[in-house]
Amino acid sequence: MMKKKQKTNLVLTIVLILGTLTVFFPLYMAVIIAFKKPSEMTNDVAGALSFPKQWSFENFRQAMEVTDFWRSLGNSLLITLVTIVLAILIHSIAGYVIGRGMARRKSFRFIYLYIVSGMFVPFSILMMPLVKQTAHMGLGNRAGVIVLYLVFYMPMNVLLYSGYLKNIPEALEEAADIDGASTWTTYWRVVFPMMKPMHATVAILTALGTWNDVMTPLVIMSGTGQNTLPLAQLNFQTQFGTNYNLAFASYILALIPIMIFYMICQKQILNGVANGAVKG
């Protein structure tokens, strides 16, 4: 059937474009404040909304120095990237084993329910014992935060992977089996590449969750001198004092990396999020 081209709804388009102001306004405020000098902060509306007199990067330079920006950025990147890679490797094979095993064995069905029910466990109940436990195990650091993320995101990711598995016919694996390949080899050679769309979804959902997380690094790493980007904002609140311009420069710096990432992978992110929710 020929697809009928619907008439574009111009009024709605305009309304929706105007609506983006709700998104842009706070960000606009943040950007101009970040560029202003403390003396430019006035108490009238026009002054508050106006551009800074001079677009100087001095605030940003200073903010980078105060918050040790590059190190925080490095920590955030490291934690997020390592978590994503390990999540894709570990959670996918776990999802595969559980998904296939469930069909045949009760015990795997039980393991599935056990892990997925972890989704309901709020971090609050785990927080205090985990602080003690990770410290005892020598994991009161970035590695500990990664291990915890792997556990926290396991329920969702296992659910996603084992659900996606239904789209992959088992016949393929059986064929490889007959060729004499081991289950292990078959998985990495045949199944793992086929789950590619799910890898993207998992990577994006995990990344969005870990990148912005405050609470886990706050309780696990505080006092070690290592910060993630959000944690640095929290920890340097007093250093900023009342210099809002400096503080906002730092906030903008903290937002830039994820904004860049979003601009590059916008399509994949939107698809990934939709995918995750629909399958999950």
Binding site: V15, A48, Y114, V121, I125, I269
Partner: protein, 291 residues
């Protein structure tokens, strides 16, 4: 053939056992420990005694804990409703025949990728300085005082920020829901001469019902666990009117020397979350069947 299967089984177990151990060690074990701590008067350091059910008894008489539950529920309820209504409207809008469709979708999703803490700091400034300035210049009474300083309305300030961030995610989900509705269905109903409004309720809505379930469960859970926004906007104030359960557990459990007591609070919180989620899913499943 039989031997082959057992080989496969071996691999399966070899994979799953370490995974289960990892999960047990960092999820189940701390949970059990949390339950044990909840029966003590532990401060987090030093020595402690077992105090039986005293913490639990205290929980139900502690007005601060009660207040935090009230706030959290109020916040989660209002947030869930607002977010779902708004995002359904947004989704319908963004799914219609409009120009710049993908660009608009992209822009509206931006709040969701930004961290709650930093967004909270930005809004805190807007609430404290910008809006009162606007209120004073244009003599708009309710804007003249910072909303975050009002015991009555501070929670609305937190709500605005929470909703601002959460709408995006649910919109995307509703859009993918709307896209599952086949074009023919609309055409058929159009031939019936159904009005747009009727068409939405009679045709579209039932078909996206499963997505409503997903969204309700997701947003309720997220709103119940609100932490970042509280940390950056109000720190629980004024007059402890915006202390969420998560925030209270963190604040008094880690800092206030109530390790044991707040563990009990966390146990109750866990039960509450499970109960609410199960309730939502059962009710929604029934609804879906009916439709």
């Amino acid at each position: 053939m039989k031997k082959k299967m057992s080989n496969r089984d071996k691999t399966f177990w070899a994979v799953i056992i370490p995974v289960v151990i990892l999960f047990f060690a960092f999820n189940t074990l701390p949970m059990i420990k949390g339950v044990i701590y909840s029966f003590t008067n532990y401060k987090g350091y030093g020595t402690y005694d077992y105090v039986g059910f005293r913490n639990y008894a205290d929980l139900f008489t502690d007005s601060r804990v009660g207040k935090s539950y009230l706030f959290t529920f109020k916040y989660a309820l209002a947030g869930t409703i607002l977010v779902n209504v708004l995002s359904l409207i947004m989704a319908v809008g963004l799914n219609s025949a409009i120009r710049f469709k993908s660009a608009l979708r992209g822009i509206y999703f931006v709040p969701n990728i930004l961290g709650g803490l930093v967004i909270g700091y930005i809004f805190s400034f807007i609430f404290t300085y910008i809006l009162p300035t606007v209120g004073n210049v244009f003599h708009i009474g309710f804007l003249q005082n910072s909303i975050l300083a009002s015991e009555k309305y501070a929670w609305i300030g937190v709500l605005i920020v929470g909703v601002w961030q959460a709408v995006a995610m649910n919109t995307i989900i509703y859009i993918s829901g709307l896209q599952t509705v086949p074009e023919e269905v609309y055409e058929a109903s159009m031939l019936d001469g159904a009005s747009k409004w009727k068409q939405f309720w009679k045709v579209t809505f039932p078909l996206v019902m499963p997505f409503v379930t997903i969204n309700l469960v997701l947003s309720t859970k997220n709103f119940l666990m609100v932490f970042d926004q509280i940390m950056s906007l109000t720190k629980g104030g004024p007059a402890q009117s915006t202390e969420s359960i998560s925030y209270l557990i963190y604040k008094n459990g880690m800092d206030g020397g109530q390790f044991g007591f707040q563990s009990a609070n966390a146990v109750i919180f866990f039960i509450v979350i499970v109960a609410i989620s199960l309730f939502q899913m059962t009710v929604m499943n029934k609804k879906e069947e009916q439709l």
